[in-house]
């Protein structure tokens, strides 16, 4: 008997209003993502991958369908419970890092713990542990503008992992990095983030890192049209 899916997306559609017209950017998407999988979501611009990852991450309501993350039907939760669920279970890595410029690397990494109510000192101590795993101890007291792009992305990864969430969602994590830095960040992400009880979903255009994926979902016109590593082999 196979393990239950970490993420279950059922008949998810999403419409947007634009210029008085309704645009369907996701159209009855169905997929299950298993724990321990590093899944890439790829596709052309406008294919719906950012919308899908936003819905999976609990920050955008679907027009139709259901999304269950580790057995919790996200959109059956109240707004307050959904925010709490995200804080406890989901880590975010953004394309532009979105670090707070006036905080040090350690302080930036500690934000989810502080948001959850942890005392500052304890949160900083825990963020130092994760920064150490990412070889960022020496940069812990530096501010984002004193760090390279790759180092900033590692701080963002530390922030995404510090509270030990079960789902990590990444939006173009290598887009702002050169090939070498991007590869190094992805190697680290795979090494540190991935575990049997954790799932990582990455939206990317970067075909230089496709070989790191366990599974690739290709999106076109709001639908998943290809599924599996072989999808990108050609």
């Amino acid at each position: 008997m196979s393990a239950p899916a970490a993420i279950s997306v059922q008949n998810v559609s999403r419409d947007f209003e634009a210029g008085g017209q309704t645009l369907r950017v996701l159209n009855s998407v169905n997929t299950d993502i298993m724990p321990g999988e590093l899944t890439f979501l790829v596709g052309e611009s406008g294919s719906g991958k950012t919308t899908l990852i936003s819905i999976i991450a609990g920050i955008l309501y679907p027009t139709e369908g259901t999304v269950a993350v580790f057995g919790t039907d996200l959109y059956q939760l109240s707004d307050a419970d959904l925010v709490r669920f995200r804080l406890a279970n989901i880590g975010f890595i953004f394309q532009q890092y979105n670090l707070i410029p006036s905080l040090t690397a350690a302080e930036n990494a500690s934000v989810p713990l502080v948001a959850a109510g942890m005392a500052r000192e304890e949160a900083l101590a825990r963020s130092m542990v994760i920064l150490d795993k990412l070889n960022m101890t020496a940069q812990a007291e530096k501010r984002p503008n004193q760090l390279s792009g790759g180092q900033q992305q590692r701080v963002a990864i530390a922030r995404a992992l510090v509270h030990e969430p079960r789902l990590i969602v990444c939006d173009e994590p290598t887009a702002a990095l050169d090939a070498k830095s991007g590869r190094r960040v992805m190697d680290l992400l795979r090494e540190v983030a991935l575990s049997p009880d954790r799932t990582v979903i990455i939206v990317t255009h970067d075909n230089r890192i496709f070989d790191l994926a366990d599974r690739i979902l290709v999106m076109e016109d709001g639908r998943i049209t290809k599924d599996g590593r072989e999808a990108m082999d050609h």
Binding site: T50, I53, S54, A57, I59, L60, A80, V83, R84, F85, R86, L87, A88, I90, F92, F94, Q96, N98, L99, I100, P101, S102, L103, E107, V111, P112, V114, A115, A116, R120, R143, R159, D171, V203
Partner: protein
Amino acid sequence: MTWIALKMLTGDRQKFLGLIFGIAFSTLLITQQLTIFVNLIQRGSSAVYNVGTVDLWVMDPASRTTDVVYPLPSTALDRVRGVAGVEWAAPYLQSAATIRTPEGDLEGVTVIGIDDSSLIGMPRKMIRGEKTALYEPDTVFIDDVGAERLFPGGIDPIGRTLELNDRRAVIRGIVDTIPSFTSQVLLYTRYSNALSYVPGTRNRLSFVVARTAAGKSQGEVAKAITAQTGLKVRTRDEFAADGRNFIIENTGIPVNFGITVALGVVVGIAIVGLTLSLFIRDNIKQFGALKAIGVTNGKIRLMVAAQAGLVGLIGYALGVLAAVAFVNGFALGGGFFKGFYTPWQIPVMTAGVTILILTLTGFGALRTVLKTEPASVFR
């Protein structure tokens, strides 16, 4: 999250200082202008408060303030003295006159004539000279601010002779007074002397100043005086308020100061609102990221409130300190600003205005943050 909010704010040094400047400037302008306004208006009651030990001011029904007077016949004094409940009553003359200064310039002065025998009507404190010197012929006492004005540069006014309405007047003392609204030179002399200094009309008694007998209320005695003499009676505080109200009602000062205070509020809102909205706009992606991560709107509100609170506290403290230092500095310098002070009510009012400015601008900034969709960080 408060420390994160404050670090976000203080880390952006330019905007942080801009916000503090906005609040400090607004606070300084409002506190300083209100302080000057209040002190200036209080000058309208200076003549009343310069006279010690007097409970009641008796005057012609047409008289309104110490400066707007219709003189009484000298018989009014005895009529007031004859009212039961009046412990004593004394004449008080206040009239404009002209002196020729030592340099030959003409200067308007106010001559105040006080009771010959008791010297009731004199300010409480002499700065130089003895009260009894007033009994010497042609003696006048000059107020301290007037002395500085007439005799600048350290010239000693004692013993100087003035030409007062073509008559000789010798300065033999300096009295400590609250300057008048117009800061005109005050010359105190005995009532009989004053009558000879001031151009004659049939009636020249400006007021009868009186004290109520022990055990009698001022209200009762005032009513009795009015009933028996037909004269108007105001208690000390009522008459002081009449002087202040006269300035408020008959000059453009409240409007002018009101405009400056309103300007302070507008400048505060403009600078703080603009800087705060720029700060929020610059950090909107960070706020979006925080919302996506799981920071609740309630915590975001607290963050913006903490940021506004810190800016408000520092800016308000700097503004009030600067205003108080400004007012006290000028007050210590004497002259027109002598005795100026900042009543505690003004910083309290300014604190209210600061809170209003921060609430208005904070809500504007907060709206932008709260409207930001967490999903926008993925776009």
